[in-house]
Symmetry: C2
DNA sequence: CGCCACTTTGAAACAGTTCAACGTCAGTGG
DNA sequence: CCACTGACGTTGAACTGTTTCAAAGTGGCG
């Protein structure tokens, strides 16, 4: 009955609005296969026209674009409960690749099923729409951080964001959350060189704000980390209200 | 019958899919007041919880965020046919301000009317959703350009994007389009200083790629401008297909 | 005509990059 | 069980794209 694969998704939506039992069931019925990807593999490629969207239920994924120099820019990180490409439901072609940062498990949602959901469940449709709007809000914060904050602030901002997002889907433990990526991948997300990312992490550590062993980030001073990152959680829209 | 105020919106949607007469009428009925803002004024402020969304039908608007240093980052420019804050329909609070770059005219869509549309017109709902997804796709390209392209490429990319967007809503004339903003505003969008924006424009002019008198941009070499900006129009999703 | 906002220029300073080398550690195979 | 490997992290030093500061030029408008 209850599709445990959707636990994190339900949690993420439940925090913003109330899902009815019917709606939960409709989502469960729209869900298709479970698929695994191993770390480093591509889950979608730029230019694909997928006929299904992928809900991440375990591990971490990144959307990225490549530029001519060979450099890569990561435009989003995804954790359990996130659709990595729900926008692919309505966009004809994917404008980015998606890669598995760690080993990853996804549940596929065929677009025909999503269309059926939108035909019968307007409120649920609005919640799925909301889900993509949250992605957009995060993009905007990344733009602000990239354009107008120092490397140190930008990185602090990213850690704040990820702590709250992990916490929302019950992946945080105390002030720690899984962040199993390389410094190179972090550099690609921040738009910095790996060398500078390394130095910036050291600075955050030296300031006593965080520690990170490559797998788990622990925040030692949440208040000051937010200050350094000029972080205001409003954009994550973490309040329950009817949509 | 036919609400001429929605001309640019219909055009923008029509390019991606087919709108039925019923759907057009539903949108026309959902439309409310026409409102004007003069250049420089704020159309919404960060933290607002608006009860309506604003469809731009004339002029140019920008979404922006401020950081502690007082610097501003513009995260989107909007022209006729764009909703400047359709995401505000489902997001509880606006995570940015919206300012009128030029004198601006908008049509307000009360959120109650939008909710009613989503309850009765699933396909039209998907098109409105698509509209916000296009914003997201543009955000992603801005992130890539900001993180991994030079100032020159970034600026070239922006001009390519705006030319095509203007063309879609019949605002381009030949290879020219209205771009009535200051270099400071452009700097805030590119995440650069005004001084460097000035020098970068001069470089684009010197290369014979564009001219710009502060009001209208003319592209002199579309091919090379795209090359310099590493511009691929895929992300604008300019093909008609059922959604 | 004169003002004010905007653009342009030059020079010094700086944040972040690049290049090249070295350190570390987990996994692998002999 | 230990030497080897390869990926990842760390360090130093030179370099560069962009910023900052300060001043001068331009032009539309009241």
């Amino acid at each position: 009955m209850d599709d445990h694969r959707l636990f994190h998704l339900f949690r993420r939506l439940d925090i913003r609005d109330t899902l009815s039992a019917d709606e939960k069931q409709a989502l469960a019925e729209a869900a298709g296969n479970t698929v695994q990807y191993s770390a480093g593999s591509d889950m979608s490629s730029e230019g694909d026209s997928p006929d299904r969207s992928q809900l991440l239920i375990g591990g971490m994924a990144a959307r990225y674009n490549r530029v001519e120099s060979g450099d890569r820019q990561i435009t989003a990180f995804h954790i359990a409960g996130d659709f990595v490409d729900l926008h692919g439901f309505l966009l004809a072609r994917l404008d980015h690749g998606v890669s598995a940062v760690t080993d990853v498990t996804v549940v596929e949602f065929p677009h025909v099923n999503l269309t059926a959901v939108t035909e019968r469940f307007p409120h649920l449709t609005r919640l799925l729409w909301l889900s993509t709007l949250l992605d957009g809000a995060i993009h905007r914060q990344w733009l602000v951080a990239m354009g107008r904050l120092s490397a140190l602030s930008h990185m602090a901002h990213l850690f704040c964001e990820h702590y709250l997002r992990a916490d929302t889907v019950a992946l945080a433990a105390g002030m720690s959350f899984p962040f199993n990526i390389t410094q190179e991948q972090l550099a690609d997300a921040l738009g910095l060189s790996t060398v500078h990312v390394n130095r910036t992490i050291q600075e955050l550590r030296r300031l006593g704000l965080i520690s990170w062993d490559g797998r788990t980030v622990t925040i030692h001073d949440w208040e000051r980390l937010q200050q350094v990152g000029q972080f205001d959680p409003t954009f994550l829209d973490l309040t329950r209200s009817p949509r």
